[in-house]
Each structure stands twice: as C-alpha cells, then as structure tokens.
C-alpha cells in the first residue's frame, strides 16, 4: 500500500518537476514529515546562520520537488535562538513536544548546541550536528552526526604548521580571541606545537571588542616568530590585517593565518581585499575542489543569497547544511523509516555521498575522514566579491588530496606574489 502510494507520488513528483504543479496537491493524502531546528539568525552567529539556512531550504525544496521523503512532504520548522545558548533548550523542547518534529537538526556552532545535548539524549533523538566542535565528546550521545569537515582540535592546524615546517620555521606566535571556537582552534594548535621542537615565542588571548591591535601586533613583531597562528573572530579580521599591514611582523615570518574565522565569509573577504594576499587560512571549501554537483549548488545558492541579502558566495556553511539534508534523505530512503534509532544506525554504518564529497562518521559522530583544507590567498583585488568565485584566488596547499599548489613563503613575499 505504502509502496503503491509512493509510486504514484514519484510519477506525481516527476510531473511536478516538468509542469510545476503546486506541491501541496502532490502530497494531498499523507501528513508531512517535520524536520525542525533552531538557527541563529541574529546576534553574533546570525550572518553565518542565515547563509546556512539557505542551504537547508534549498535541500527541502529539492527533496519536495522529488516527491518528499517516503512520499511525505518535508515540512521545515525553524526558530531563531539569537546566537544565545540560553534560548535553545526551550526551543528544542517546543520542537519535540509542541511541533512534534520527526527529525532534529542542531543550530550552527557550539554555544547554542551544547545546552540541548542532554535533552536530546534523554529523549533518544537523532541530532544532525551543524559545525559545532567536539560538543558530543562529553555527552556521548550515539545519535549525533556532525556535518563539519573536522574532527578534533589537532586537525585544524596540522596543515598550517606542516607548511611552516617545510619552510624551515622553528618558532611560532599564537594569538587568539577570547571566545569558544577560537580558543578551541588555538588549543589545537598549542597541542600540536607541544609535540614539536618549536618554541612558542608569543601566546596571548585578546578580548572581544578590542579597539586597536597595534600594541598586540607590535609585541608579536618583537617576539620575532617565524610562524604566526591567528584565531580571530570575523569581526576582528579586518582590524588585525590592517594592523599587520601598518605595524608589520618582520621579514622572518614564513606563514601567517591558520584559524582566522571570517576569511570564509564574503563581506569580510571583500572588505579586506588585497590585504588578504599571502594569508594561509583554514576553509571547508574553496573553488576548484572537485565535488559532484557543487558548482550547480553554488549557482543556485548565489541567486537566492543575493535575493535574501546574505553572503553571496557561502563557501563555508551552506553546502554542508545541504549535505545534512542529503544525509537525512539517504538514510531515510535506505531504511524506509523515520525511526530515529534506525536512521542513526544507518548513518553510523554507511558512507553518504553529498555535494561536499563522501561523508562517514566515527563513534562520536564526528567525521572519520576530516576534510579541512588550508588555502593561501593570492592576487586578490580590492572591492570585488565575484573574484572569489574563481579558482586560484585561494590555493589549497594542504591536504595532499586536495592540493592545488605549493605555499609561497616567506609571508612578505607571498603578500606581493601574483
């Protein structure tokens, strides 16, 4: 019976693709399946959240166009937690008890996610993680699957430091923002450095709302490091790069960057322009990385993003949020059920093909094969966001699998290189 209905719907779905009949009709008989989440759409994480949301909405539209999940229309319920973790427990209980959603997706980032982990575990619900960091390490919920292309802290800086090592560096300076994510980045880097013979010549955390970086950059320069690892907030990237340009770091610096959050977001990249040149920084995707279907995704994404006045490139979060949808889709279609236990089971056992490549998970529900890249910015012009669409503006230098070119050192030379 169910099978038959699905048949009808698939044809219905096909027809609807051809002659776009209002979706609602296609799903006349069956109740929709509810997928719910809270996404920071305002506050500190708002910019990223809004972009991510477009990625998810695109998946919802696509899957509904294909006839939904098991013939049921996907209904997507989103609330805004204002980037404030204090709001999420309430929101997720509402999703569970009032909206009665079938599948939960976590909010973007760690702070809003951490408070809902125990709740979700208590209820034995599947939770699709969203670019949070090691949030399950303590809670150990076996139905958690993070879409982020990283695993533990080390994965972050390995590539960056390796590049430094190849350039013969022996000393490193670290400065990081006093914030959750940035601190985790920096701690990862510190860990790696511990296991090398490098000496850590400068290591400082700086506060949010820092007006001027002159004195920090000055003291970094005084420490004469060969590698400078920066873990900053999007809001500080501009100020930092300016000060670097003004004060200078000294000719001995081989590579600079590493964990600068924000260099993935178009507004920041655009306002930095040529200041970006030479910086080596982590990313989740840069043009030129070959994934099936991703070009098409970004073509469609950019249209919607510009209409919605959010990050028009969206390299960082959107494709991975679309991938989250694909994971759900594949698991549901394979298991023919919405039963969270069995879905989780499937996700743990199988590799899923997504627009960001094949994804498989370890026992903590983090990526078993991290796929972070370190890329170096090259010949960037000022005030032009379209340029970032083209390969060669951000050259992947690590890992080998995705490598697009060799890192240019030292930093001063890399800044001028074209």
């Amino acid at each position: 019976m169910d099978k038959i209905r699905r048949k009808i719907l698939e044809t219905g779905g096909a027809g609807l693709l051809a002659a776009t009949v209002p979706t609602s009709m296609a799903f006349a008989q069956s109740a929709p399946v509810k997928i719910g989440m809270s996404m920071p759409q305002t506050g500190g994480l708002g910019a990223g959240g809004q972009a991510a949301l477009i990625g998810l909405r695109m998946w919802v539209d696509d899957v509904n166009a294909k006839g939904g999940l098991l013939g049921r229309k996907v209904e997507f319920i989103v609330y805004d937690d204002q980037s404030n973790g204090a709001n999420t427990p309430g929101i997720y209980t509402k999703l569970l008890d009032v909206d009665k959603v079938d599948i939960l997706i976590a909010p973007y980032a760690t702070n809003p996610t951490a408070p809902i982990m125990p709740l979700v575990k208590e209820r034995g619900k599947l939770l699709m993680g969203n670019f949070s960091f090691q949030v399950n390490a303590k809670v150990q919920h076996d139905m958690w699957f993070n879409n982020a292309p990283w695993n533990d802290a080390k994965g972050w800086s390995e590539g960056f430091l390796e590049a430094g090592k190849n350039a013969g560096a022996k000393s490193i300076a670290i400065f990081a923002a006093d914030a959750e994510f940035q601190q985790n980045l920096a701690n990862g880097c510190r860990e790696v450095v511990k296991n090398t013979d490098w000496n850590l010549v400068y290591d400082q955390n700086y506060p949010g709302n820092n007006t001027d970086f002159s004195s920090i950059i000055r003291s970094v320069r005084a420490a004469r490091p060969e590698v400078v690892f920066v873990a900053c907030y999007p809001n500080e990237a501009v100020a930092i790069m300016r000060s670097v340009n003004e004060i200078g770091l000294g000719s001995q610096v081989q590579i600079f960057g590493g964990g600068m959050v924000g260099l993935q977001f178009t507004p920041v990249m655009q306002s930095l322009g040529s200041l970006l040149n030479g910086v080596v920084n982590y990313n989740s995707y840069v043009p030129g990385m070959k994934f099936p279907g991703i070009e098409d995704f970004f073509k469609r994404y950019t249209e919607r993003a510009i209409a919605a006045k959010v990050d028009p490139l969206g390299f960082y979060l959107p494709p991975f949020n679309y991938a989250t949808g694909q994971m759900i889709e594949q698991a549901v279609n394979a298991t023919k059920t919405f039963d969270n236990k069995r879905l989780a089971d499937y996700l743990r056992r199988n590799e899923i093909n997504t627009i960001v490549g094949p994804i498989s998970f370890d026992k903590n529900g983090e990526r078993s094969k991290p796929r972070m890249v370190q890329a170096q910015f090259r010949n960037i012009k000022d005030n032009d966001w379209e340029q970032f669409k083209n390969p060669g503006k951000q050259v992947v230098i690590w890992p080998a699998a995705d490598k697009q070119g060799d890192v240019i050192t030292p930093f001063d030379r890399a800044r001028k290189a074209t």
Partner: protein, 290 residues
C-alpha cells in the same frame, strides 16, 4: 621579560589610543559632566555616528568630512533629545534618577537594535587613503588612522576649552552646571543654555563617531563596552573638565596599552572598568574635580 623600548612603544601607542578615548568621551563630559544628565545613550549615538559616516562615505566623501557634515544633524538630534528629556523628566521633576536613566538606557538599546535590524550584525568599515598604512619614524611605525584620532581629539578638546572659556554661551554652559540662579541673573535662560550644550555634546559625537569607524570596524553592539570606557574617562577627569578629559583618556589609553603588551591582552577590558571603580571608591570627584 618586557624590553624597555617595547614598553616605551606601548606608551606611545597608549597616547594615541588615549586621545581616541578622550575624543569619544568629550560629548559625555559636557552632557553628564557639566549638565548632569544621565546620558547613558551617549555611546549608542557614537555608534550611530559611525554608521551614518559609513553610509555617507559610500558616496566617496572622506570619512572625516562626513563626520563634519554630520555634526549639524547630530546637533539637532541632541537639541530634540534634550527638549524631550526636559519636558518629560526635568520639568515634571518626576524622579529623573530612575526614569531618566531608564529612558536613556532604553534609547541606547533601541538605537542598537535598530542598527542591527538595518545593517545586520556584521561589521562595517570605511576606506580612506590614510587607513591601513602607517607613518614610519626609524624603528617606530604609527598607524595614520590613530594619528587622525590624535588630531581630532586635540582639535575637539581645544575647540571646546576655548568655547567654554571665551564665549558668553560657553561660560553660561559652564555656569549652568553649578548654579542656575546665577545664570538667570546673567539674563540667560538655563533651559536654552542646557539645550545648546546638549546639542554641542551630541554634535561632537558625530565627529567622534566618524573617527571611531576610521580607527576600526564598527558593529552595533559596540556601544556596550563604550559605556564603561567613556564614563570611566569622564569620572576620572572630574565632571566637566575638557582638558581633564584629555588627560584621563591618556591615562586610560596608556594603561590599557601597557596591559596589552605586558600582563596580557585578555585583561585589557578590566583596566578601564577597574580604574573607574577605583576612582569612584577613593576620589569620586575625579582627578581635576572640585
């Protein structure tokens, strides 16, 4: 561990930073210091000034010019704001304490949220030839944007000091703080004078706002930290002393800069607020207060 020349440089940066702090505090020094209005919305208007500058500068006008062009606008805003404050609170003298504070706190909040609604949470910057490069004197390098801040601070301070000492209205404003009766004898209307002063205080904020976005990127919620910084400077200075404001700004700037280079940057925010508490505790009348 910290070398002497580095410390020396910390002081130099501190001076530039300090002038910047002074400049953003001058308006408050008038509104709160002289007129005794609990103007907690001051930093919010500062940020507003930055955003207006951001909009104007899109047309290619130099941010400093933008700031100057905005001054009359802000002057009017200030007048209106004070009028409103006077009519609703001072006149009715319905305890200005709680309600006045709540009023300005609310205003600040509304400005902040409106900025977020219009511009979003991500930062805004302006570009100008002097942003991003620096003046090199031997070993030392001074960012031009900080030198601009330095210039603006000196300019505004001298301007206000002269205005308050040389002109009739200026003296009247200084007087209104102490004794309204005396002012009436001078044949001036205290309300008009206060209104004028408040207009000036807010106008100054326009230029200061322009300077803020020249010095660094600006985001809507920034006003919160500046509540502390500006009030710290004004209290440190002793209410209503312009030159005092400059000195207080310098003290704060140098202190922060040194902490950043030595003890560790992450402790910097505590400096201004710590100083403030200390001051309130031991010498509430400020360094130059009567």
């Amino acid at each position: 561990m910290i070398s002497l020349d580095l410390l020396f440089e910390a002081v130099l940066f501190g001076i530039l930073l300090g002038c910047f702090y002074a400049a953003v505090s001058l308006g408050l020094s008038v509104a709160f210091g002289l007129l005794d209005v609990p103007y907690v919305a001051h930093p919010a208007l500062l940020i507003l000034g930055s955003y207006f500058t951001f909009l104007l500068s899109k047309t290619g006008i130099d941010p400093i010019i933008c700031g100057l062009l905005l001054m009359p606008v802000f002057y009017v805003i200030g007048i209106a704001l004070y009028r409103f404050y006077y009519e609703t609170f001072e006149r009715r003298s319905s305890d200005t304490g709680v309600r006045g504070l709540a009023f300005f706190f609310g205003i600040a909040f509304i400005i902040e949220v409106c900025l977020i609604l219009v511009f979003g949470v991500d930062q805004r910057t302006v570009s100008a030839t002097y942003i991003g490069s620096s003046l090199e004197i031997g070993e030392y390098r001074f960012p031009y944007r900080m030198l601009v801040a330095f210039g603006i601070a000196i300019f505004l301070t001298t301007l206000l000091t002269l205005y308050f000492s040389k002109t009739f209205n200026g003296r009247a404003i200084k007087a209104v703080g102490q004794d309204e009766g005396a002012l009436r004898l001078m044949g001036a209307n205290p309300v008009k004078i206060k209104q004028l002063a408040f207009g000036i205080a807010t106008a100054v904020n326009a230029l200061a706002g322009a300077m803020l976005i020249i010095v660094g990127p600006v985001e809507p919620a920034m006003d919160r930290i500046y509540i502390g910084r500006t009030f710290c400077v004004v209290v440190l200075a002793g209410l209503g002393s312009m030159s005092g404001t400059l000195v207080a700004g310098l003290i704060l700037g140098i202190a922060e800069s040194i902490v950043m280079m030595t003890l560790g940057a992450s402790w910097a925010p505590a400096v201004s607020f710590g100083l403030l508490l200390l001051m309130l505790g031991i010498r509430p009348q400020g360094l130059f207060g009567r």
